[in-house]
């Protein structure tokens, strides 16, 4: 009823600017629609240029990173090394070549990807510059921060170790 009223009051252009109305398809139509879409996507995928694929990959990586660093949960699998490995994978370049492009040693690159050390600040900036700002330096930095934040929040051994250095602790609870 409301849809009908809207369609009488507004032009198709105005409606397309404000609505996607639900459309019911029969089972047969649904099957046909799924097949048509799958074929169209397959053709597009085959015809996509390397540049299109790279842009799609970068956007996908950027959004995954954004969602993770803006979220409240820590996931040890989504580390700096994981995202860096994904970035290098998108470029379809050998690690040695990529390490040269950002002027770091290949060993350092491997250590970063395999989580053997944390990245120096200059690496996060070089990654931003290399990606032409597709992935900003602070995103990389916040990944490292997220790990540190989790460690500082949850590590019991550091608390045990540091306890000896604290005296006259407050005798109140909040």
């Amino acid at each position: 009823m409301r849809q009908k009223k809207l369609r009488n009051e507004k032009s198709p252009d105005e409606l397309a600017s404000s609505f996607v109305f639900p459309v019911k398809l029969s089972e047969k139509q649904k099957k046909e629609a799924a097949l048509q879409l799958a074929m169209a996507r397959e053709k597009r995928r085959a015809a996509a240029t390397d540049k299109d694929k790279l842009i799609s990959g970068l956007l996908s990586l950027r959004f995954q990173l954004e969602d993770y660093i803006n979220g409240n949960t820590f996931n040890p699998d989504l580390s700096f090394g994981y995202f860096l490995g994904e970035y290098v994978g998108l470029l379809e370049k050998k690690r040695k070549v990529f390490a040269e492009e950002i002027s770091i040693d290949e060993t350092l690159l491997s250590q970063l990807i395999n989580l053997k050390r944390d990245p120096p600040d200059y690496v996060t900036v070089r990654l931003e510059l290399h990606s032409n700002r597709a992935i900003p330096a602070d995103y990389w930095y916040r990944l490292v921060e997220k790990k540190k934040e989790h460690f500082i929040k949850t590590d019991k051994s550091i608390r045990k170790k540091e306890k000896q250095f604290v005296q006259h602790k407050l005798n109140v609870h909040i």
């Binding site: 507004k10 639900p22 995928r45 694929k53 990959g57 956007l59």
Partner: protein, 94 residues
């Protein structure tokens, strides 16, 4: 939105802009574009570079979605993927 992980696709089943923003004289433009781009961003983050956003249009609105949002024709459905999806996502979300 309906998620189809196996197909790496998000379907927009219903999109509705608040009444006061509908029409040429509304205070803001591009609200529906933002919402379609949000679906695209979600699909890219969830499903990777070959993600897709689709909708089943009313016949009368089909060409308008194609013109306005660069949607592609797949018969019963319209869709966005690869460069077409990148363009709308970059325009509205970056």
């Amino acid at each position: 939105m309906i998620y189809y992980p196996v197909e790496e696709r998000v379907e927009i089943k219903l999109l509705e802009v608040s009444r006061q923003y509908v029409g040429k004289n509304g205070p803001y433009e591009g609200i529906a574009g933002c919402m379609i781009a949000f679906a695209g961003r979600t699909a890219l983050a969830k499903y990777g570079p070959y993600a897709c956003v689709s909708l089943v249009p009313k016949t009368a609105l089909k060409k308008h979605y194609m013109k306005k949002y660069g949607m592609l024709d797949a018969g019963w459905q319209l869709y966005l993927d690869m460069d077409a999806l990148n363009n709308i996502v970059a325009k509205y979300t970056l």
